[in-house]
């Protein structure tokens, strides 16, 4: 019969009891050790060392060792970076090695309202260096390398109008001029052959983007996007611009400065809000309101800002409507009007341009060059298409199409491209239907432009 005495289990009991106790201690130790505590102790030591008076020393000794954070509900963030980077707001730490370093430029972006990760990315909630800097598995947004930091400006500010981010503006130019919109939608405008780019900057690393532009198929197997031949600076610029497209949207406080009050944005507003419908510049434009050529000499900036806020308040009886400009839009317009005389560019208002010039702008705006080549000269490969395995150039459309046919082709597209060899895979690129995307008036202008491309000396039409 088995011996049922319990005594033989006592040793087991002791061992298991000690094991559980030991594991609890191990759990405590593991939980209590936190990297950031070391950094905070170092900081406190430094503060004590620097303290000029015994009183200051006492205050420094009382600095608590605790997690610090900025809670940013409108940005959907909690940033704990200052748990280790304790001195970002203390200029006396300028030039100190990280993590105890001073961060200049807090004036417009105070830490308590913006935190860190909205610009630098990384993992704000993390409290270990590796996790916070974000180059860890299962975290999509590692810290943005400093060379691309201007991309962050583009999340909130218009790319083109920010004097502090010239590379971002350059990137936007490269984007618009390379015809990316021919295939990709950005901000709701563009083709449908490639994926939308509104949130691409949040998902893709700079390395991936670079690789993608140089050889798309190497980054995305099976991609039909043609490789982009860009100079090194243009490549960096467009990568930076792509990184700025994160789909980040913030309201209220954070959206008030989307438009920076400067001349360029003023020009943009002047055009888009139809000011020339009533006012004239250089003798061209409407006659309802006064000409604006010398308004910058006649009126003080404060008067103009108030005028944009509420025209009747400074010009009783004015028929100009209240446009509801935001404060920064009013400032931008004012800035533009003051500097208009110096702005030759101001004169290229669409209503003052010829249909062909406008058509060229349409060609650029919708990214036609992406497939049909710069100035519609053609040359992007489209394997197995009957047109010499290339997307055709458009220099000679005037010979093959009437105006009506050309409009129809643009509006309806051509989804089945005739194949050279029916046994090979069909040509990957096709002409999307643009009706609804490109406005009717723009199509008219575009057709005028395309017809005008026929080299000089050849007959126009049939």
């Amino acid at each position: 019969m088995t011996d049922f005495s319990l005594a033989k289990y006592y040793a087991w009991f002791t061992a298991l009891g000690l094991l559980v106790g030991g594991l609890v201690i191990a759990g405590y130790y593991r939980d209590d050790y936190r990297e950031w505590k070391d950094y905070q102790r170092k900081y406190i030591k430094e503060e004590i060392h620097r303290a000029p008076t015994p009183q200051a020393k006492m205050l420094a000794e009382r600095i608590p060792v605790e997690i610090r954070q900025a809670v940013l509900p409108d940005l959907h963030r909690v940033d704990r970076c200052t748990t280790c980077h304790l001195t970002v707001e203390d200029p006396s730490y300028g030039g100190y090695p990280q993590p105890l370093s001073y961060h200049p430029l807090h004036e417009q972006h105070p830490f308590e309202r913006f935190g860190c990760t909205i610009c630098h990315r990384g993992q704000g909630r993390a409290t270990t260096a590796v996790d916070a800097h974000g180059s860890v598995p299962h975290w999509d947004e590692p810290m943005l390398p400093m060379q691309y930091i201007q991309a962050s400006c583009g999340q909130c500010h218009e790319a083109a109008d920010n004097p502090a981010a010239p590379e971002l503006a350059q990137g936007e130019q490269v984007f618009e001029n390379s015809g990316c919109r021919g295939c990709h939608k950005l901000g709701g405008t563009g083709g449908i052959i490639g994926p939308e780019l509104d949130k691409v900057g949040a998902r893709r690393s700079p390395e991936w983007l670079k690789k993608h532009f140089i050889a798309p198929a190497s980054a995305t197997p099976g991609s039909i996007m043609p490789p982009q031949k860009l100079s090194e600076t243009n490549l960096e610029a467009i990568v930076l611009f792509m990184l700025s497209q994160t789909g980040e949207s913030a309201s209220g406080y954070y959206s008030s400065m989307k438009v920076l009050p400067n001349t360029r944005e003023g020009l943009h507003l002047f055009r888009s809000r139809g000011c020339y419908g009533c006012h004239s510049v250089n003798g061209q434009g409407g006659k309802v309101g006064p000409p604006l050529d010398d308004v910058g000499l006649r009126r003080a900036p404060e008067w103009m800002i108030q005028h944009f806020r509420d025209p009747q308040s400074v010009t009783p009886g004015s028929v100009m409507p209240k446009f509801g400009f935001t404060e920064s839009e009013a400032r931008a317009l004012t800035d533009f009007l003051i500097h208009m005389r110096e702005q030759a560019v101001a004169l290229s208002l669409p209503s003052l341009m010829s249909p062909v010039e406008r058509g060229k702008e349409v060609f650029r705006k919708y990214g036609c060059a992406g497939c049909h080549g710069p100035d519609a000269k053609g040359g992007i490969p489209n394997p197995n298409s009957k047109t010499a395995e290339q997307v055709p150039g458009l220099l000679h459309v005037a010979d093959g199409y009437t105006v009506v046919q050309l409009k129809a082709r643009i509006n309806l597209g051509q989804h089945e491209i005739p194949a050279l060899d029916p046994k090979r895979p069909p040509p990957p690129l096709y002409m999307p239907a643009w009706s609804g995307t490109i406005k009717d008036a723009e199509v008219d202008d575009l057709v005028s432009y395309l017809i005008s491309l026929k080299p000089k000396g050849e007959d126009v039409g049939f």
Binding site: F4, Y9, V20, L23, H138
Partner: protein
């Protein structure tokens, strides 16, 4: 009497008015007190005052049922703690996982304990079921308790599955997407069931709310109830199964004619008949301390294992759930990967017929296999056919699960894990 000081102190306390009002019996000194200790304690009285020696043999039961129970207790404890922080919101759930890891004291350890205990519980409930099968313990009079056990297996799977979604990361989102899609293959009701489970067509805020409610109250309440009945029936069905011994006749004895040492017999409160078991007093030992002490040891062991896992391995947490970018492959929780593998061959067979037949066969088993022999011994020779059929089923399930877990890569293609680590892994 030179009992050690703490013991004397305890005895003195239990003899005071207050002490006696709480414990009734102090540290038992006599056999009467040993019985009373079991009967008068709420937590202990579900067990008899005396147990059969056979029930104490660790090599027979392996303690698998008790281990499952302990894991359930650990899950309740850690789960309640986690509820103090968790918010079932698609905006917040994932951030809270990060806060548990980076900010909350012991947050990560407690989440790890919950995660590993959950996986272990699924595993041990299955192992417990295997043990009961291989020892023929589901036979008369324990048929219904086996059916309850099958129900508890399903509840356990449900608890684990609903909990899987709560961290709201990619792993959670896609495991639930895939898991509920498997349910969608059920005939007629499949799509409706999926719609009802998710509260919509995709995994979203409503799914999270539903899974949360199921996970923290509905299923635990059902589990507690069923576990209680399960344990109650273990006792009422005559304790743990054991081999028939000569003279150990099982007969239905009218209640009220039971020996006077049974409390319910004394009071004649119950009517009808009850199986008379273990009536040979020389085969029994007092539960206090023989059973209780062994149970305590096992509890310490289970706690140690869970703590060990929780301290040294972190529960997985992937990127925040993103409906646009599924991982390749997207995998269900491990215990459903056998099914997912089957579904990859045939949605109807893998998603409907096999799991349906399996659960039905398990539930009906004790009513099909009615011969009363080979009970109470592992792999009894008399049961070789049943054991072989069961073993083949288990082996197939294990093989499919292993294939689904380790040998399936992108596009559910065959990969060899020693060459290419699978895209989806648990833990690190």
């Amino acid at each position: 009497m030179n009992a050690p000081a703490p013991k004397r102190l305890w005895q003195r306390f239990t003899r005071t008015r207050v002490g006696r009002s709480i414990f009734r019996v102090g540290l038992p000194e006599s056999n009467l007190e040993r019985s009373q200790a079991m009967v008068s304690s709420f937590l202990l009285h579900v067990q008899p005052a005396k147990v059969h020696r056979h029930a104490l043999r660790a090599s027979y039961s392996l303690g698998l049922g008790l281990i499952s129970l302990y894991l359930f207790c650990i899950l309740c404890g850690t789960g309640v703690l986690l509820m103090f922080y968790y918010v079932p919101s698609t905006d917040k759930a994932y951030d809270i996982m990060k806060d548990l890891q980076f900010v909350v004291s012991a947050g990560l350890v407690i989440r790890n304990m919950h995660r590993w205990a959950a996986h272990l519980m699924v595993l041990f409930v299955m192992l417990h079921m295997c043990r009961v099968f291989y020892t023929g313990a589901y036979k008369n009079p324990r048929e219904f308790n086996w059916v309850l056990g099958v129900g508890l297996l399903l509840v356990t799977l449900g608890l684990s599955f609903t909990g899987y979604l709560l961290p709201w990361d990619q792993l959670a989102f896609w495991a639930i997407t895939v898991g509920t899609s498997i349910a969608g293959y059920a005939p007629v009701v499949g799509e409706k069931l999926k719609y009802l489970m998710l509260g919509g067509h995709i995994v979203g805020q409503d799914s999270l709310t539903r899974f949360y409610a199921l996970h923290v109250i509905v299923l635990p309440a059902i589990a507690v109830l069923m576990i209680s009945v399960h344990l109650f029936r273990v006792r009422k069905d005559g304790g743990l199964s054991r081999p028939d011994e000569p003279g150990d006749v099982v007969e239905q004895i009218p209640l009220g004619q039971l020996p006077a040492n049974k409390s319910y017999g004394l009071m004649e409160l119950a009517r009808g008949t009850t199986p008379q078991v273990g009536k040979n007093p020389e085969d029994e030992v007092f539960s206090w301390p023989h059973l209780v002490f062994r149970e305590l040891l096992l509890f310490l062991l289970v706690t140690a294992v869970v703590l060990f896992l929780a301290i040294f391995w972190n529960a997985p947490l992937e990127e925040i759930a993103n409906a646009v970018h599924p991982p390749n492959p997207a995998k269900a929780p491990w215990y459903f990967l056998g099914l997912q593998e089957l579904v990859s061959y045939s949605a109807f067979w893998g998603g409907v017929v096999v799991p349906g037949l399996l659960v039905t066969a398990l539930a009906l088993l004790p009513y099909i296999d009615r011969k009363r022999h080979g009970v109470g011994r592992w792999f009894a020779r008399e049961r070789v056919v049943a054991n072989t059929i069961f073993s083949v089923c288990v082996a197939i399930a294990v093989i499919f699960t292993v294939i689904g877990s380790l040998f399936r890569g992108p596009n559910w293609s065959w990969v060899e894990p020693w060459k290419n680590p699978p895209a989806v892994t648990e833990g690190h």
